[in-house]
């Protein structure tokens, strides 16, 4: 038990260090930025009509006229008080912009992970139970192909087919539930492909390993032997990949949300990057980092729950 708490504390410390790295990285990169930040901000706000006083106001609002260390100290202090500042473009508190967008990203991300698991795991298991069979071959080809198609391209191809050619679904925008179908499917397919590969491999290995053979030798039916001695062993890599890919799904949203015009966190990050809206970029990156870290923690806990060996050393190097 003491070991478990120690390992969890180490994991939490790592999470904090990672978040600190994100903040520092964002800040350092912002400082290294070419061009006058005040001018860019003024143009982002007012377009070409931003005059001298627009630039002066932008410089004051952004604190660009103060020393670098002071700017960083300010920001770090605010983060600790959970005050993420005001967006330099819309001038609303960043936190107010984050929450509704976080909801969009989490719902769509969660649904696409769920759909990906529902498709990928059974297909992979089916392939893995009969290695070398027809299903195995078909799953291998499909998984390799879909792993090679980037999310933005898959989304585009789905739009071409279902929105333009067939006209069944809307191409972009929000509003109705139908608008969510294509983005969720895009991410789900990208997730199901590697998941099917890993599941297949895990099932082949677990079913060929000693515990299942022993179960068969002591007289269990193949199904019972597999369920009793195979599933847990096969589940570990699958759960780990699910967690890892969940992070990739959140990331993939940066691209997918832009493509489908969904008002999520990734869309916010890309927009903020383009308009150099520093507080928003930092807040969105921080939130992404936090999500990623929390998923990592949950993942470690899930692996420990499945595999008793890991409870001794929760975080193997």
């Amino acid at each position: 038990m003491g070991q478990l708490i120690g390992a969890l504390a180490a994991r939490l410390a790592q999470l904090v260090a990672m978040l600190l790295a994100v903040v520092l990285l964002c800040f350092a990169a912002m400082q290294a930025l070419p061009g006058d930040k005040a001018v860019q901000l003024a143009v982002a706000r007012h377009g070409e009509r931003a005059g001298e006083d627009g630039i002066a106001r932008a410089s004051r609002d952004g604190g660009f006229d103060r020393p670098v260390a002071a700017q960083f100290a300010d920001w770090a202090g605010q983060v600790l008080r959970l005050d993420l500042g005001h967006s330099l473009v819309s001038r609303r508190p960043v936190v107010d912009e984050l929450w509704p967008r976080l909801r969009v990203t989490l719902i769509a991300g969660g649904l696409s992970v769920l759909l990906g698991v529902l498709v990928g795991v059974p297909l992979g298991a089916w392939a893995g139970l009969r290695p070398g069979g027809v299903v195995d071959g078909a799953v291998a080809v499909a998984a390799a192909l879909f792993s090679a198609v980037p999310a933005f391209l898959l989304g585009l191809l789905l739009v071409m087919l279902f929105a333009i050619r067939l006209g069944w679904l809307p191409a972009a925008g929000g509003g109705t539930a139908l608008h969510w179908v294509l983005p969720i499917c895009t991410l789900a397919v990208g997730f199901a492909a590697p998941l099917a590969r890993v599941t297949r491999q895990a099932v082949v290995e677990a079913w060929g390993a000693f515990p299942v053979t022993f179960g068969r030798l002591k007289g269990l039916s193949p199904v019972r032997a597999g369920l009793r001695h195979g599933v847990r062993n096969a589940a570990i890599p699958v759960v780990m990949l699910t967690g890892l890919r969940f992070a990739a799904v959140i990331e993939g949203f940066a691209v997918i949300e832009t493509l489908f015009n969904l008002p999520g966190l990734g869309d916010l990050l890309v927009r903020a990057l383009v308009s150099r809206d520093i507080p928003t970029v930092q807040a969105a990156a921080l939130l992404f980092g936090l999500l990623y870290g929390v998923v990592g923690l949950v993942l470690d806990a899930a692996c420990a729950a499945i595999d008793p060996r890991r409870r001794l050393r929760v975080h193997p190097a």
Binding site: Q14, M18, P34, P150, A151, F152, L156, V270, G289
Partner: protein, 254 residues
């Protein structure tokens, strides 16, 4: 099946190596022939400005593949060096390299690339820096793990005891043993870099127009994909074939 990876990589290799020599200027606009479908005159059709898709694709292949290789060379060159030195020295240097890799790995890859590339204001340097930094931790960890096994072997220790100069020992005796596995992993990294660069190009954070690049070509053609699907499908097919070829090549080698 053995030739499949090469078959998939062949279009990109041919286009990238030979294409720019034969194809017309990728920036020349034939405004009388915008969005022409593929035909004898335009093998892959033209885009919205009447530019030859084939010519743009040939130049884009050079840009995309060149940048991907550059990113991988930087990430794997630097990462391997750090990893081998860490394995050789052990102690705090090794701990430092591993913790640095952990921290970089804890940051989601594309997010890291987006932030670095986006904040440096787009353009090639930022793009390469972003993609390379995202790949660095994998190179560091893998070369450290592989080198740790080799460094412990008798012939390396014999060289150390004989007082051979360390850089020569590490580069001539340790590095060659790691190369096969590192090369396999680096091939996967090239595929990853191609995808990242295309995604950034698609978001408009990568290369600045009018230089053609795969992701950007696709993004530019999105508004016209209903009436001119070839403008999207040609770069898309080349991108997918190349990535798939690289992945299969790495799998066949391992």
């Amino acid at each position: 099946m053995r030739g499949l990876p090469l078959l998939l990589l062949a279009p990109a290799l041919l286009l990238g190596l030979l294409g720019p020599g034969f194809a017309p200027d990728p920036l020349r606009q034939e405004l009388m022939a915008t969005l022409s479908p593929p035909s004898g005159d335009w093998l892959l059709g033209t885009d919205e400005l009447g530019r030859s898709v084939l010519a743009r694709l040939a130049h884009a292949t050079r840009v995309s593949a060149g940048l991907a290789l550059l990113c991988v060379a930087i990430a794997w060159g630097g990462g391997t060096l750090l990893g081998i030195v860490a394995a050789w020295r052990g102690g705090w240097s090794e701990a430092l390299v591993l913790r640095a890799a952990d921290t970089l790995m804890a940051l989601p890859g594309l997010l890291l690339t987006l932030i670095v590339a986006g904040l440096l204001g787009g353009g090639m340097v930022a793009l390469v820096a972003g993609v390379a930094v995202a790949q660095l931790p994998v190179a560091m960890r893998m070369s450290r793990a592989l080198a740790a096994g080799v460094v412990a072997r008798p012939f390396v220790q014999a060289g150390r005891l004989a007082g051979l100069p360390v850089p020569g020992l590490l580069l001539r005796d340790v590095l060659p043993l790691l190369l096969p596995q590192l090369a396999t992993q680096a091939a996967l990294s090239v595929a990853q870099a191609v995808l990242s660069i295309a995604a950034l190009g698609f978001l408009g954070i990568g290369i600045h127009p009018p230089t053609p690049e795969w992701g950007m070509m696709i993004a530019e053609s999105v508004p016209y994909m209903a009436e001119a699907p070839w403008t999207v499908l040609a770069p898309a097919a080349l991108l997918v074939a190349s990535v798939l070829g690289l992945v299969l090549l790495a799998e066949a080698a391992s």
